[in-house]
Symmetry: C2
Subunit: 107 residues, 2 copies
């Protein structure tokens, strides 16, 4: 088949998986780290920093944008965007909650 059977899983499980999928590529991890550590927004040097072709970076940025991790203006030549901190913290909390729920009585 090849396509995930998303319909048989709960919204919570699907959402966490979707978020994880965005982080499931080293380029996107690197991009996220880079942007999150910038002092200002405007980051038009990603292609040099990451080392992938410009269309590829553009695609990765789009995946990141899709889950709401970027905010700013996306118009014209010089974009101006940065990490959406509210969303960032939501994701942190989502992972943290998931990993906090564990029983201790095991082999």
């Amino acid at each position: 088949m090849g396509a995930s059977k998303t319909h048989i899983f709960s919204p919570t499980h699907n959402e966490l998986a979707q978020i994880a999928k965005v982080m499931a590529h080293p380029a996107r991890v690197a991009i996220l780290e880079y942007i999150s550590k910038q002092d200002a927004c405007i980051c038009n040097d990603l292609v040099d920093v990451i080392g992938l072709a410009q269309p590829t970076i553009s695609q990765h940025l789009n995946e990141i944008k899709k889950i709401g991790l970027l905010k700013g203006t996306f118009e014209g030549k010089n974009l101006c965007y940065c990490i959406n901190q509210e969303r960032w913290e939501e994701l942190q909390e989502a992972f943290n909650t998931f990993f906090s729920n564990i029983n201790r009585n095991c082999c």
Copy 2:
């Protein structure tokens, strides 16, 4: 191309991506949640709980095993395994560290 250019990224970025990849499927999120909430080990009802075919579950379990999230004995008919808590906490910490590193001065 289709294959990720892992060699151009740092070990840290690749590792986090690899971990995220395991969580990037709702079935694996559901499996992890189920196992982590069991009182004992032996979980031979995953196929019914998750709702995917037995070979598919087996494959997903293998992905989870690969990043060291399961411990126990994997021999014969009745497996006996559960979450490797040390590793579990390592992953929690890895995500937490990643999300904690963010600058605040932005648009």
